[in-house]
């Protein structure tokens, strides 16, 4: 492979980057007790990017390694077709060569498809056994082995082999015409042996859906709100790190400007692709840049952005190693890998015990950002009464201006943890795995509106 890619690199002048991936995947899906999907995929795909001197990018996606030399020539031709108004410059990097393709310890390709089906069948039965009011479910098992080769004309080289496995559960409870849902997922680096005991996860999803059946809507008012670690991490990912990604071609979001205060002293947010043991940690990004731990917010102030080589050169800073491609065949853009809110002081119990009447939000179904407006859709919510967690409630989406939201952040606990769920970040229809980590956080005086006008 190395010789083939070296030959391809020599097929055109200027900067050339070749990335090729092979992916072996398994997907098993049950709808209620009915097996809907049990199959394996083997995909191969790559992309060549070429920057002819004085021109713009030419890129060609391809399927097999043998096509790489022809793809380089075509990408060069496309590059020369462009006549950009400004020169594209890439920030310099140290060309590193990384070979990390040892045999996998727990290779999911070695487990038979019927065994994976049986695993999920048993977990699905566990979910349905919780309560007769579970009327529907969708459960899933997935595993992926990914082999990556990356070579650039500047001498960077990466050969990487990794695997991950995921489990997901959606439970629908129904009674008297009403329906409620709950969902949960887990993603682990390695094979399916890394899951351990997961029956309790499937039981808890069912219990949460049933508990929501008789939950009452929150009375519309302003409340202090405590977000659990997962919700806090997801919020930081969508509303801070996502707005600190230097815009690449094809994306023009509202970048939070450097130096802007967006929150209190206790708020610090970073992205650390070097964090050990996480499924989304890396050594080199998809441009061959060594990854770095980048702080984007320190003590409430925006101090940095995530960069590709091109955006870093434009901003006059060093690349951070966040040039990541969302799919096998797409070009890199600045994206987070492991986003976190730094832990501060105290426990979740301390954050809650100071609240006479408030709301506790565990997990979120979604967070939308339009301009500077943020909408948070809670997954699970409970009232806080007299400093204690109380009854489950249904909570309408919480909407707020971004700066107003973080202006109401008053405590960040010290109980930091990385979230093991199968989180992804969507961009242009493509999903790329991402990990978030955070402690509990507390916001004062957030407006919770009625569920339905």
């Amino acid at each position: 492979m190395r010789e083939l890619l070296a030959r391809a690199l020599a097929a055109a002048p200027g900067y050339v980057e070749i990335r090729l991936r092979r992916r072996w995947s398994t997907a098993v899906v049950f709808r209620r007790h009915r097996l809907e999907v049990a199959t394996e995929y083997h995909a191969s795909g790559g992309v060549v990017r070429c920057l002819a001197p004085g021109h713009g990018w030419g890129a060609v996606a391809f399927t097999d390694a043998e096509q790489a030399p022809a793809a380089v020539q075509r990408a060069y031709e496309l590059s020369t077709e462009t006549r950009p108004d400004r020169e594209i410059v890439l920030a310099p990097i140290a060309a590193r060569q990384v070979e990390r393709a040892d045999a996998l310890v727990d290779d999911p390709r070695l487990a038979a498809l019927p065994d994976k089906r049986d695993l999920l069948d048993g977990l699905t039965a566990e979910l349905h056994g919780v309560d007769r009011r579970i009327v529907d479910s969708r459960t899933s098992y997935g595993d992926t082995v990914m082999e990556t080769w990356l070579a650039t004309s500047e001498g960077a080289w990466l050969h990487d082999l990794r695997s991950e496995s995921t489990l997901g559960a959606l439970a629908v409870a129904g009674e008297d015409g009403g329906q409620e849902r709950a969902l949960e997922s887990i993603a682990v680096a390695g094979g399916w042996g890394a899951f351990g005991e997961r029956r309790s996860m499937f039981r808890q999803v069912a219990e949460r859906a049933v508990a929501r059946l008789h939950a009452k809507p929150i009375v519309s008012a302003r409340y202090p709100v405590v977000f659990d670690a997962r919700a806090s991490g997801a919020l930081a990912l969508q509303t801070i790190t996502n707005l600190c990604r230097a815009p690449s071609r094809g994306v023009d979001r509202n970048l939070l400007p450097l130096g802007q205060r967006i929150g209190p002293e206790c708020l610090s947010v970073g992205d650390d692709p070097t964090a050990p043991g996480l499924r989304t940690s890396l050594l080199l990004d998809d441009e061959g840049t060594p990854v770095t731990h980048a702080m984007v917010v320190c003590n409430g102030v925006v101090v940095g952005h995530l960069h590709t080589r091109e955006t870093a050169a434009r901003a006059g800073v060093a690349p951070t190693g966040h040039g990541l491609a969302p799919t096998l065949r797409s070009v890199p853009v600045a994206r987070p890998a492991n986003t976190y809110v730094a832990g501060a002081q105290g426990t979740a119990a301390q954050l809650i015990e100071e609240i006479p009447l408030g709301v506790y939000v565990a997990d979120v179904l979604g967070i939308a950002v339009e301009g500077r407006q943020v909408t948070i859709t809670p997954a699970v919510a409970r009232m806080i009464r007299g400093g204690q967690l109380a009854e489950p409630v249904k909570c309408a989406p919480i909407t707020s201006d971004l700066l107003s939201l973080y202006g109401r952040l008053d405590r960040v606990a010290g109980d930091f943890s990385w979230d093991p769920s199968a989180a992804t970040l969507q961009e242009g229809g493509a999903l790329r795995p991402v990990t978030t980590g955070a402690p509990h956080t507390r916001f004062i005086d957030l407006e919770i509106s009625p569920l339905h006008a």
Partner: protein, 420 residues
Amino acid sequence: MIGGLLGDLASRGAQADVTLVDDDTLTVSLDPDGAASITADGNHSVHVRVAQHGRIGWAAGATRSVRDIVDRAFASASCAAAAPLFLPAPAPLPAVMTRSPGAAALAPRELLEDARQLRERLRRHGWRLETWAERSAGAVEVGNTRGVQAAYDVSLVGMGVEARAPDGLICRVYRSQVTPLESQDVAALVDEVERRLLPPLLDEGTVVRTERVWFGPRAVRALLAPLLPRLIGERRTGRWPELDRRLTLIDDPLIDGRPGSRPICDDGVPTRPITLIDAGRASDNILDLTVASRTGRPATGHGWRRGFAPPRAGFSNLVLEAGAATNDQLAAELGSGLYLADWSFGTAPNPVTGVFRAEAPWIYRIEEGAVVGRLDGVVLTGDAFELLGRVVTVGSTAEWVGSALLPSLLVDGVGVELRR
């Protein structure tokens, strides 16, 4: 190629069907700082489904690894539960235009020129602009071991722009169709961006009330979204919502030159228009071959088997029948009120209940028939099903939004919250 593949599958004693898709896509984009990029992507995929000993399995991948895909499909079948699969027999195909030679031949230079034109026409406003133009061309082949073998060529041309308003809001509009876009399409995109971004921002203070709202075609697409899952697959038990009698929704794969048009579905079933909602009442659901076989009903020609996704039912071109009211009449009927140009339910739509609470960044105040400004910070609340029962007027001018042809709707009783 598909004939040989089906022969191999039949020789292994299986019922089988196959979809082959070839697609070459060329995309050019001009970023806000004037840099250009051109991307080419040639994709050739195969999707194989086999039924052996009453068990159905499937696999997908690139055409270069067909043997591997076939083996995986059989492995998938070997661990599946028993289920029926009734493959369709050969039948005459309807005529529909799915490819334009002019579109398929568009070169990078022409696409760059289109993207530049679009940028130049919007540049005078000083907005940050990203423009793009794209064309794809290819072919789809479908076949099964009962003798279905069909192929059709496809093309698609698209153009779009992202323009960022001074307050940071990003306006995204696009057009796509089978034939090359003309100068009037560029003009329409320019007009839409200007209509969305030029009105001044209004400050109306805090308001919480229900109002009559004019949903433009893009916003109607969102309002229909919670209803669409009820029109796919087996008819669910439970109450069908009380929709306005003027709402008739058709799925029509036989409209020439639209993104969802095709003569045969990926399950090998000839396509035909079907009425999904007839005068407010539920009519037919779309069924792919899997669900149709399981429920003993005929498949409707809505099978999709693309990429690595499982076989599924999906819409082609959705058409909501237009009414009689011109835009002037809609404005007159609205009087002073709100116009919603574009909308989405955000990240957590709830198609089960229809209840929503969603920001509406593209909502405008209309007074005496004219837009006077855009409102910032509006949140719409309500029940989408109830709102579709409170339609006051259906517009006469339908517009294509992707693969949906939709008129405007004037709707009463929309929850409007405006908080400054």
